[in-house]
Symmetry: C3
Subunit: 157 residues, 3 copies
């Protein structure tokens, strides 16, 4: 059997994921910078077609389940940025780091559960290459009142 050159594209299709036109940065910076084999992706928020879909403080303004969907959307937006930069996602050899910031009231302590929305998706898409290190913290507020913000560092070949 001939192995496709578009393993990740096929996986996205199987999962029913269409990468959107990537959202524009919310400030004076750019979405992706490559240095050597590392690629940094700017912080992504749960925005779709110019509209924040998951906003507010988790448990107060939205459920953990919705915040997880928000984290998943952040990850999709990050992949859309990479896709837009490199033409496809096949060059990604490793997801190195996921940093997840959860818009949290002082008493909320289940940030890992929220960020799993992004982590699970990355593992589904990239399998072994998608196993990443992670930082998940609760923050007092986020840009445009997003419920979650996620940034990535990936390795490419």
């Amino acid at each position: 059997m001939i192995k496709s050159n578009f393993v990740i594209k096929e996986k996205l299709d199987t999962l029913g994921i269409t990468l959107p036109t990537p959202p524009k940065p919310a400030g004076s910076y750019i979405p992706v910078v490559r240095t050597g084999n590392l690629v940094f992706v700017s912080g992504q928020i749960p925005i779709k077609d110019g509209k924040i879909l998951y906003s507010g403080k988790v448990t107060k303004d939205l459920s953990i389940e919705d915040a997880q969907k928000g984290a998943r959307l952040c990850a999709i937006n990050a992949l859309a940025q990479l896709n837009s930069e490199f033409g496809n996602l096949e060059k990604i050899s490793k997801i190195v780091r996921v940093s997840g910031f959860v818009n949290s009231p002082p008493e909320f302590t289940e940030q890992p559960k929220v960020i799993n929305g992004a982590s699970d998706l990355l593992f589904e898409i990239f399998e072994e290459k998608g196993q990443h290190t992670r930082v998940a913290v609760g923050v007092s507020s986020l840009p445009l009142n997003s419920a979650v913000e996620i940034d990535l560092i990936v390795e490419i070949t």
Copy 2:
């Protein structure tokens, strides 16, 4: 016309920026570490001559405009650290990552506007090389009650 070897120095002069003696770390760590072609700069706060110039929570204790000036000062301090480490800033081939933490009340959502104070300056100084990825979040509090804290990762040649 002969191109100067001190393009960045001249740009700083044009902008009227004199890099200060870099502030000492506020704890038991060092300001700059190089690994390969990457250079990490410790989190910088809006301090000048030993005094925090922009403190408190944005919109509650200071205006967005002042917080932007604070972010700009953080960036200047980061460049001062790099200048002190390498003798000049000419070796910087790319600003890779800016992380910006804004001292925010729970309802503040304009972190990108604040961190633009740093991003705009980096672009003014380094032009194309200064286009960076960015993470901007709101945090509940910062060292010495700083209004903003910024750290950098840069690439050098």
Copy 3:
């Protein structure tokens, strides 16, 4: 005198530190990823034998001194992750970055003092190689109500 190949191991022994079995990730990710000579360690919390030892908001629920011990325990857990991945810590040529997130009430501003609990230990163990850059911020809440969370980037040879 023949120099030992296990300098760091001996230092840990001298300090009376036994690296624990590293704690399992609190979500769907892995503790350590290597890319080139850089190694990223996931955010570590002050957990021992499955129990969070230092929890709550600093000054409100625990003292700065206890939070420092929490930061030290986070650093020990990060080293335990690296030890588990590489078999020992001798390959570490540099601690590049320590990011420290302190569970802080809005008025707490001594995050550097807390994170020194980790920084001091890293310097004690690795001496010159342990001198790192650092980011320390206050966050509104942390996973499992941890008082502090710390992640590392190290360089290995």
